[in-house]
């Protein structure tokens, strides 16, 4: 009975199960976007076809975000137009694009934390009953289950969104797009916040959406993911389209225009993005300086998040901390510097220390660079100078520590801009105007200015383009060579393997195993880490 009521009160929905007939084709035709002084997109023509995963890659500032904003209706192009299924469309606002079937899955998730999964998914299009006065909760629940099962997840539609993990929230966000009957789905760096396992789940979801005939637009800094999943790859550089690769019948990616060159792999793509040859992006590894540990954790843990961690890092050594998102790596690091309550003990240069506060840790030479640059690592609304000097403000004062020495602040900022070749023309402007890579360099520099002996760095290259990644790797390797003890937390296996002297893998809040340096060279080392991180126990013998 309720079903008939729904049919009566709901807007007619396209029949499901025959997606092939509704394949969308979204075209950007000679699109140019100009900002004062900058041409963010320059005469770009791309078509996105239903049943295809189309990856857009490029360095930060290449125009990817601008293109996505045009497609999703956030900005209108200065010149050029969009066509959808052959007819020209003009999206004045994102709602217009969504109504036309073009939805964007944002990097920042926009769920209402106090509503449950089903309510969030159908927000604004709730099934009604009682002549539209009341929400039909059971129909809402059913529809939510239907959509979630379409995504292959058994998430409970009754759970509050505030308690979801990032990966789960992303699934809800995608389901929300499907609820609006999206035929073109745009994913803006969806894997940036995910661990290895969640990423592979998401990639198979992308394939599934494609197989249903939807057009999937995929932006990622992770070239391995792009190579694994994309049917077509467009490379943007300085606002222009510079390359297009298509997967041919044999599953090999080849240049679409001109002579079909060799098959494209990650290094070909990286070269296409930066327009120059990149050497190995991982610098050579140095060696530890002395035997005594700079930092030692004994039976350490973050209350409620991790436990029983024993680990020591010597000066000059880089230890990688691998594991799935939620395995307790970040929480452990936060507990070390006093941002969380801890159990067990921390020893710095052989002396036991208890840090109540990051400042206390800083005084003993321990610094933590957060994974969450926007929310915790930096003050995005404040200037580069203010961000740079915040932890070391005491050192930039005059008149007995009360007055700020603004000349000294400026000087130290300029010094790090030079040292890290940060692209930052006006350090007095909000740091949010810088690219992710340059922000990350500041996030690192502000803590190096505290002259640490132990550096805990969490996801050092999240949301950072290939060129800046290589620079950050080199910086970390140089720091180690200069005698810093580094713990690098990362969800990117190639990064952690390429950078670290040894890798400690965490699972469910505890150390699941450790790979010493000689095991990091083997071809099967990624697989070993993944097995450990997922809690498979065969590798236990490597624990030392």
């Amino acid at each position: 009975m309720q079903a008939t009521q729904n049919a009566f009160f709901e807007a007619p929905r396209a029949p499901e199960g025959k997606p092939a007939a509704r394949r969308a084709s979204l075209n950007a035709v000679r699109v140019t976007v100009e900002y004062p002084g900058v041409r963010a997109l320059d005469d770009v023509s791309i078509s996105f076809r239903g049943g295809e995963i189309h990856a857009i890659i490029g360095e930060n500032g290449a125009g990817k975000s601008t293109l996505m904003k045009v497609l999703s209706g956030s900005i209108r192009p200065t010149h050029g137009s969009l066509t959808l299924d052959g007819s020209t469309v003009a999206f004045a606002k994102p709602a217009d694009a969504i109504r036309a079937g073009v939805s964007m899955v944002h990097q920042e998730l926009n769920l209402v934390p106090t509503l449950d999964v089903a309510e969030n998914m159908l927000l604004g299009r709730e099934p009604r009953k009682l002549f539209g006065f009341s929400i039909d909760r059971s129909a809402q629940h059913r529809r939510a289950i239907e959509l979630l099962s379409l995504l292959g997840t058994d998430l409970d539609p009754g759970r509050m969104c505030g308690g979801l993990s990032i990966a789960e929230a992303q699934f809800v966000e995608i389901a929300k797009c499907l609820a609006s009957d999206a035929r073109v789905l745009i994913f803006d760096e969806p894997t940036a916040v995910l661990g290895e396992r969640e990423t592979s789940r998401l990639l198979s979801l992308l394939r599934r959406l494609r197989d249903e005939g939807r057009a999937v637009v995929f932006i990622s800094h992770h070239l391995d993911e792009v190579v694994a999943v994309a049917d077509r790859i467009t490379v943007l550089r300085d606002g222009k389209m510079v390359h297009e690769f298509v997967r041919d019948g044999t599953g090999v990616l080849r240049e679409a225009v001109g002579a079909p060159g060799d098959s494209a792999d990650e290094s070909v793509l990286a070269r296409a993005m930066v327009g120059r040859e990149l050497g190995s992006i991982y610098p050579p590894k140095g060696s530890a300086m002395r035997e005594a540990a700079a930092i030692e954790l004994r039976n350490f843990g973050a209350v409620g998040r991790s436990h029983g961690i024993s680990l020591s890092v010597r000066p000059g050594e880089i230890v990688g901390l691998a594991g799935l998102v939620g395995s307790g790596r970040t929480e452990t690091a936060e507990a070390i510097v006093g941002l969380r309550r801890a159990t067990g003990s921390v020893w710095i240069d052989g002396v036991q220390q208890t840090f109540a506060h990051p400042r206390a840790a800083m005084r003993q030479g321990v610094a933590y660079v957060s994974e969450d640059r926007k929310g915790r690592g930096l003050h995005v609304t404040l200037s580069s100078v203010i961000n740079m000097t915040l932890p070391t403000l005491d050192a930039h004062t005059r008149a007995g520590g009360i007055a700020l020495d603004r000349r000294a602040e400026r000087a130290v900022t300029e010094r790090w801009i030079q040292a890290f070749s940060i692209r930052c023309a006006r350090p007095e402007l909000a740091i949010s105007s810088l690219s992710g890579g340059n922000q990350q360099k500041f996030a690192l520099a502000r803590w190096l200015e505290t002259k640490p002996r132990v550096l805990l760095i969490d996801e050092p290259t999240r949301g950072v383009d290939v060129g800046a990644k290589a620079e950050i790797y080199r910086i970390i390797a140089d720091l180690a060579r200069a005698g810093l003890a580094c713990i690098v937390i990362s969800s990117e296996l190639p990064e952690i393997i390429g950078l670290a002297h040894r890798v400690v893998v965490m699972h469910a809040g505890a150390v699941a195993g450790e790979l010493p340096r000689e095991r990091l060279a083997g071809a099967d080392c990624e697989e070993r880490i993944v097995r450990l991180a997922s809690g498979l126990s065969e590798e236990k013998e490597h624990r030392s």
Binding site: S383, P391, I402
Partner: protein, 347 residues
């Protein structure tokens, strides 16, 4: 550094001129100039009279001092609704103590100094209570100070049986609120030498010191960082609780100073009336001045201009014969308009 304002330029990340961006930054000055011109046009010589300004400043000094403190609290992403009640409690305690000393036949100077110091100390103590509830009790600032709004006035009412506390000082006490520094060569309408009132001097001194601390001191920087993003401030190693606590403490001490200015001007404390509703005037001045209610951005000089704008509006309306009952509506409209204009390109 070439920046004109303390921390303002960070918001305007893009080069080039735009009207909305200009208004966002300088709208409050534009409004001040407009109002000033309207006043001068309507009242002619009466308005452009120096004495008129003296009175404008003098009658708004107390609320101005509160607004300066409120600016700091709001920059720290807090709010203090209890300022009016802190004013009356501090003034009541200080005046009572001063009277007691005079009754005990202590020298009047001693009585006034001790009473004045106690007024400021009582305000600071009330501010410390607010800060303690917010920081250590983890109560939302709105709620904690709403409690203070009720409790502090109730204490003052109980102290004086809801009546008036008259100062027993012959004339020394009222000099603070009524006296001033003579401005040589200027005379008032009655032909006596014109003075710059001590309360105005206190207001401007407080404002200048606060602006300096906000833009040039470590504390000001910490305040902005905590207000902009408390979590990020904690991760940067700041003692977030201590920073916020000090904002409420300073607010309390300034409420004490405002209480002193008020009670000495009236030479008495009306426990039912003094400071009533001044939290709204103070918040309004802060908002008009361009300080973000979300915290993390603000300017004391804007607040000072905001106080003068509010004062001028009252002035114009009174002189134009608009019913006092309508003045609230006009002020309300101005506050909303100020926020709309200054939101500008921020979105």
């Amino acid at each position: 550094m070439t920046t004109a304002g303390p921390i303002a330029p960070t918001r305007n990340a893009h080069a080039g001129f735009s009207i909305s961006r200009f208004l966002e930054r300088w709208g409050v000055v534009v409004a001040f100039v407009l109002l000033f011109s309207v006043s001068a046009f309507k009242q002619g010589g009466d308005f452009l009279n120096v004495e008129n300004f003296r009175n404008l400043l003098n009658s708004n000094a107390a609320v101005g001092i509160l607004a300066v403190g409120m600016t700091l609290v709001i920059i720290s992403a807090g709010i203090d609704l209890s300022v009016g009640s802190m004013v009356v409690l501090a003034a009541a305690l200080g005046t009572t103590a001063m009277n007691r000393l005079i009754e005990l036949e202590q020298p009047e100077l001693v009585a006034v100094l001790v009473g004045g110091a106690l007024t400021i100390a009582a305000g600071a103590a009330a501010g410390a209570v607010n800060g303690g509830l917010v920081v250590f009790g983890r109560i939302a600032p709105f709620i904690a100070t709403l409690g203070g709004l009720a409790a502090f006035r109730s204490m003052a009412l109980a102290l004086a049986d809801a009546g008036e506390i008259r100062s027993q000082s012959s004339s020394l006490f009222s000099t603070i609120g009524r006296g001033g520094i003579p401005l040589f060569g200027l005379e008032n309408n009655a032909g006596r030498p014109l003075t710059l009132s001590y309360s105005t001097v206190i207001f401007f001194t407080v404002a200048v010191v606060a602006q300096w601390f906000l833009s040039r001191s470590r504390f000001g920087r910490h305040l902005v960082a905590v207000g902009a993003n408390e979590t990020a401030a904690r991760y940067a190693g700041l003692a977030v609780g201590w920073v916020r606590f000090r904002a409420y403490l300073i607010m309390g001490a300034l409420a004490g100073i405002a209480g002193l200015v008020n009670s000495s001007r009236m030479n008495s404390v009306s426990t039912a009336q003094l400071g009533l509703g001044s939290e709204l005037d103070a918040i309004a001045a802060v908002v008009i001045g361009g300080t973000s209610l979300r915290g993390g951005f603000g300017r004391v000089w804007g607040t000072v201009v905001g106080v003068l704008i509010l004062g001028m509006i009252t002035n114009i309306l009174t002189i134009s014969g608009v019913s006092p009952y309508w003045q609230g509506a006009v002020k309300g409209a101005v506050i909303v308009l100020a926020v709309l204009v200054q939101r500008g390109s921020r979105e």
